[in-house]
């Protein structure tokens, strides 16, 4: 049976997540985004042109080691980046994107503390149907910083 009780979202979960991440030493993570105009030339598609990535700041964000499920030799350790949903929604609005998923799908990596990480997965925690924190599963890039 459907729950028909009225639930008005007042944004307290989002504000609380932002405050907790900031209190936990939240830093700034920068998504590596393609340039707004893009590069439609043949050279751009062949890896000849420098892509001219943009840096999109997200704060507060907290990086921590993620548990390894099945460690393999030579595989870089996984990390988890927790990002406040308020920061993500601000950038989604700024870039006029349809969703946060579209934002992360366009990102080719994320810089945290000067290191480049590759995004392997994105999940959210929600309250009353609205995300209050995004959890990015990361691995350190071979490109380094």
């Amino acid at each position: 049976m459907a729950d028909l009780s009225t639930q008005r979202s007042c944004g307290i979960a989002q504000r609380l997540a932002t405050a907790v991440l900031r209190a936990a030493g939240g830093a700034t993570a920068c998504l590596r985004m393609p340039p707004l105009s893009g590069d439609s030339s043949d050279q751009g598609q062949l890896g000849l042109d420098a892509p001219g990535f943009l840096s999109l700041p997200l704060a507060p964000a907290v990086l921590r080691g993620a548990p390894r499920r099945s460690p393999r030799a030579g595989e870089p350790p996984p990390y988890e980046l927790l990002v406040a949903a308020e920061a993500v929604s601000a950038q989604v609005s700024e870039l006029k994107l349809s969703s946060a998923e579209a934002l992360f799908a366009q990102a080719s990596g994320v810089f945290v503390g000067g290191k480049l990480f590759l995004i392997e997965g994105v999940s959210t925690s929600q309250s009353q149907g609205a995300p209050y924190v995004y959890r990015l599963l990361l691995r350190e890039s071979a490109q380094g910083s």
């Binding site: 893009g38 050279q43 598609q45 000849l48 080719s108 990596g109």
Partner: protein
């Protein structure tokens, strides 16, 4: 060899745009035909659905000809989850559609080799040619199904001048 690889990709991309102009994708904020070179794009956890991903694997060189003949294996991977309208139940049909497009964009099995490091791209002296495709099995994974096609691409090593008797050139380029 890079010129041959570039020519192969650009040829397939242009043919795909003609065969099915609706097969497009958004890559690095640019809408373009649904085909890309894996190693020329940012690493991604999952390949783009409903698009063709090219990657170069094996490489052999035949030195027993007047000019060195490079043989490169190109693996073309594509996956689909069908359409939302059909709740993904048409993913088999969608894969068959991509199989057909694969066959059509590969034929004819040759193209004029071009040098894309110049602007505008300049034609080179030889052709790039390739084998008939070897279709791998359809691989289901949860709600998506994928296939990998192998094509062997051949290209002669070109030099500024004519090939010498041994086929070795000092500034070869294919």
């Amino acid at each position: 060899m890079q010129n041959a690889r570039d020519t192969f990709y650009i040829t397939l991309r242009n043919r795909l745009a003609a065969v099915n102009s609706a097969r497009t994708m958004l890559m690095r904020a640019v809408p373009r035909p649904g085909i890309y070179v894996q190693y020329a794009e940012a690493p991604m956890a999952q390949p783009v659905l409903d698009a063709f991903a090219l990657r170069w694997t094996e490489l052999q060189a035949d030195h027993h000809l007047p000019a060195i003949l490079a043989q490169m294996t190109c693996e073309i991977e594509y996956a689909t989850a069908g359409t939302q309208n059909n709740a993904g139940l048409d993913r088999g049909r969608a894969l068959e559609q991509m199989d057909t497009e694969m066959l059509r964009i590969l034929y004819p099995y040759a193209a004029q080799k071009m040098n894309y490091t110049q602007l505008p791209a300049a034609p080179m002296e030889t052709m790039v040619f390739w084998s008939e495709p070897e279709f791998g099995p359809a691989v289901p994974l949860r709600d998506r199904v994928s296939r990998t096609v192998k094509v062997t691409v051949f290209a002669f090593q070109e030099a500024a001048g004519a090939a010498n008797s041994t086929g070795y050139e000092e500034q070869g380029e294919s």
